[in-house]
Point group: C2
Chain length 534, copies 2
């Protein structure tokens, strides 16, 4: 019994206990509150159970030979899970390392993009740059794989009260800290709602008791005055201080009175607040210690490095009825691998270009997944001035500049050097940057970052490395927006003869490793059931 099963069992045990003491209503409420899976009868998908060697005992069956196209997270997870039962898997990966879009750049990393730009990362020892996925939510199955594979995790700093907000297009001439922006928005929202409530404007919706409770909440939430003060928001220590309180009679120097209500809403700082409440982005978020690629590294090790062919570009897939033949080119030579089954986890728009005999419907379906552009730049600094000068220990600065997001590092606090993600953008903003040379990208990102952080953003810069996913060979995109519900999408959820498809692009969590893992598990389950029924 693996730990997933243990968890499932113990959840059920807990729910039974709650059910006994609290009745069905309490049990349902608890389930909802716990975010637990409903019972098997209502569950959309049964819990994953990895194939095991014991599945084949006494049946005379054994693990089949499987060729996996693509050594990203989905492909590695397929080989890993099938490998538990003794399947003989071969992973074909076109790039020079496994992991796919789970890519961590360190000093010495070299890559030439589709435009011929070659970059060599000159990062210092211990400095890394997660060019692909950077965060994991607590509920994601990615966390379970980290645990199972022995990949330690630490907090990813997805939100920080001391990070900046800077909306240039809204007329802001200086950045404002999240804590200040929140205090002011929550303050004015509370003031307005308290006034309307107290004046009876919502009496058709609120009982007298509701009103009292709401007003009490708003006074706490917004730090506003009471009725006699007109429920006014006039500022709060939550805005932060020019100088924080100190010794003796030093009460500190508060930031002072807030801007006028109209100015606060005109600055549009509130547009970023919902992010932190997203089911997939709310803190706490996590990352592997030492770089996101610790996950594919651990997967690859568990699969067996000898099973993973690197630099292996797939050139053809042929279903022969009783077996599958996959041709690929590696080291200048054409090769072939024959297997009982194939699992194709390559990006769909690239798989669509691979010659195959699976039917034109498959090709059309694969071509129906659009590729999203996204890019990041890693800026290594000679000092951690953001910690020393600005007291920002991690988190994300949000902007309406074309760099979009700036990430401060979630580890190595107080270290000598550190790496800031100087832009993380998508769509047209990403394409703006990917059209530039790596040097131009760095210049553009730094010029904008200086507006927020001051000169050190330029003067302390040691080196940089940018990654444009749309211009990356063998990937050509960051992620897709799957055509959920279309006939094409559904077609690829079924095997085409002996060829299965898997990847985050066949899930409802695209762009997350969670999506890769759950898709891999689904295919592993289907393939294993087929073998067991054979």
């Amino acid at each position: 019994m693996n730990h997933h099963e243990q968890s499932a069992v113990s959840r059920r045990g807990f729910l039974r206990a709650v059910g006994v003491s609290g009745g069905a209503g309490a049990m349902l409420a608890t389930m909802g509150a716990l975010g637990l899976a409903p019972s098997a009868a209502t569950s959309a998908v049964p819990a994953f159970r990895a194939p095991t060697r014991s599945d084949f005992n006494l049946t005379g069956r054994s693990g089949a030979r499987v060729v996996v196209l693509g050594g990203g997270v989905a492909g590695l997870a397929v080989a890993y899970e099938l490998g538990k039962a003794g399947y003989d898997c071969t992973v074909l990966e076109a790039r020079s390392r496994a992991g796919g879009r789970n890519l961590t750049i360190r000093g010495g990393s070299v890559e030439t993009d589709l435009d011929g730009h070659t970059q060599r990362a000159n990062f210092s020892d211990g400095v890394y740059f997660n060019a692909g996925p950077g965060r994991i939510a607590q509920w994601m199955v990615t966390m379970d794989y980290c645990r199972e594979l022995g990949v330690p995790v630490e907090v990813f700093t997805n939100a920080n009260a001391d990070a900046w907000i800077y909306n240039e297009s809204a007329g802001m001439t200086a950045p404002v800290r999240y804590r200040t922006a929140k205090a002011d928005v929550y303050g004015y929202v509370s003031e307005l709602l308290a006034k309307a409530t107290d004046q009876g404007a919502l009496d058709d919706r609120l009982s007298a008791e509701d009103k009292q409770r709401l007003l009490s909440f708003l006074q706490s939430y917004g730090a506003i005055g009471g009725r006699t003060g007109g429920w006014a928001y006039t500022g709060t220590s939550r805005r932060g201080y020019l100088e924080y309180p100190g010794a003796g009679n030093d009460e500190g120097v508060p930031l002072g009175a807030p801007p006028a209500l109209a100015d606060v809403f005109a600055s549009n700082v509130g547009r970023y607040f919902a992010f932190e409440t997203g089911y997939d982005q709310a803190m706490l978020m996590f990352q592997p210690v030492g770089g996101m690629d610790q996950i594919p590294k651990a997967l690859a090790k568990a699969v067996g490095l000898q099973r993973i062919q690197l630099g292996a570009e797939v050139t053809g897939v042929t279903d022969r009825g009783g077996r599958v033949e996959v041709t690929y080119r590696q080291g200048g030579r054409d090769r072939i691998v024959r297997a009982d089954f194939c699992v194709a986890t390559m990006p769909p728009h690239l798989m669509a270009r691979v010659p195959h005999n699976l039917g034109t419907g498959v090709t059309a379906a694969l071509a129906g997944f659009p590729a999203t552009a996204s890019g990041k730049i890693g800026l290594e600094y000679r000092s951690r001035w953001w910690e020393l000068d600005q007291r920002i220990y991690g988190g994300i600065t949000e902007t309406d500049l074309d760099l979009s997001h700036i990430w401060y590092p979630s580890s190595g606090f107080h270290g000598r050097r550190g790496l800031i993600v100087g832009y993380y953008n998508t769509g047209s903003n990403a394409r703006t940057y990917s059209a530039l040379t790596p040097l131009q990208r760095a210049e553009r990102a730094v010029a904008q970052g200086v507006k927020i952080h001051g000169d050190k953003y330029r003067t302390e810069l040691a080196t940089s490395y940018s990654h444009a996913w749309d211009r990356t060979r063998y990937l050509e995109g960051a992620w897709t927006s799957p055509p959920h519900g279309t006939a094409g999408y559904n077609l690829l959820l079924q095997p085409a003869g002996r060829v299965y498809f898997a990847g985050d692009w066949l899930s409802h969590e695209t762009a997350w490793q969670h999506g890769s893992f759950v898709s891999a598990r689904t295919v592993v389950t289907a393939l294993h059931q087929r073998v067991m029924a054979d």
Copy 2:
């Protein structure tokens, strides 16, 4: 030039740069936004500058002999900073280890409280329990000391969307996750304010443009419908899922429709939301890796262990005019130490009992600081069921039970065992627990925690250790509420002859190590100036 000075210089440089390009208004706005110190002219307190050996060069002066009463954070910081310039410090600490209320319990820790209860911690290797301070805000000078002393820090998980809220007295029969509670409260608040705004109830406060911006914000913030839908909040994925989205066509099973507005406000879950916006509690927060006592350990090492007398109970302080004599009892023998100056950092209500010749005004002033009760219990579990079963990786569960807060561990994720702080309470709730035996405290805490977490809260428990600060020898309290602004408080900010007073109790950040450090720095500065002027 130490790094604090460097920071100050670079901040000024940055401000100058902003001032040049943006004018004085922009500069002021930037300063406010940055949370930077105002210029020396308006600064309440000049930046701290540690004494150095070079201060004595060419002047013929040298560091004086100083006896420090109390080896907590303030006392150690005084000895550490004075030691940089060659002052000859002796620290007298009554307890068996330095650190004062900065106390980390590990396996083997033994202590007998004022009621004669002896506890021996049976925690496993690597498991620790911060019985005293547990968190540090980014802006606190405590962070600078961690950096300077080489104490690595990591995120303290002060808030987690997947932690629970449980208000038993409000009629809740099951806990609710923060993410769910926030989605519902923000949703209904947004709905109500959008309705009132759109109906013109706030037209005297809002321009047409304000209204449009506010409505746009509320739709994003509350995930509410538009005008045609009556701005209604009907739930959102932010509430969380029974089953999170998966592969293929698995969109997941959302938690579903929210409770009615009246029920949400009746549950009073919103009372906890303001905590996360506090200037001293907003995430990101930090802790030393491996236990909060890494700070006093590093301080003590830097001071020199030979300078710290443990088990040394101060029995008298006499100012002889030209010197100070402090008598103490150690190992059953009466001892004396003579010094040029004394810095008393003991808890004021205990210092008030020490015989001295500093005047009755000093005694009365010291006695004017009330002692606050507070307690915690560390519950070590055989498994990290909160991570495995409930997907809670750190954070704090808030309750209206007398246990108040439950802390999940901020480190050791996915480890074999882990320690939950099963209660952290103050005042009457703390006294309720401190009146119990350690076993009774554990039983009470577990019985309440089971209501939230289910049976594993009891069945997986391995061992526990509780700490009641009001019943702790040589401390007799967790912290104080200083009588700021009184003549007594101000009296103790000045030296009584050759005796200075320091501690978080003489600051505006009582109960925080920041308060201890800034108070220590103030006294170090004053004492050093006196020596230099002598």
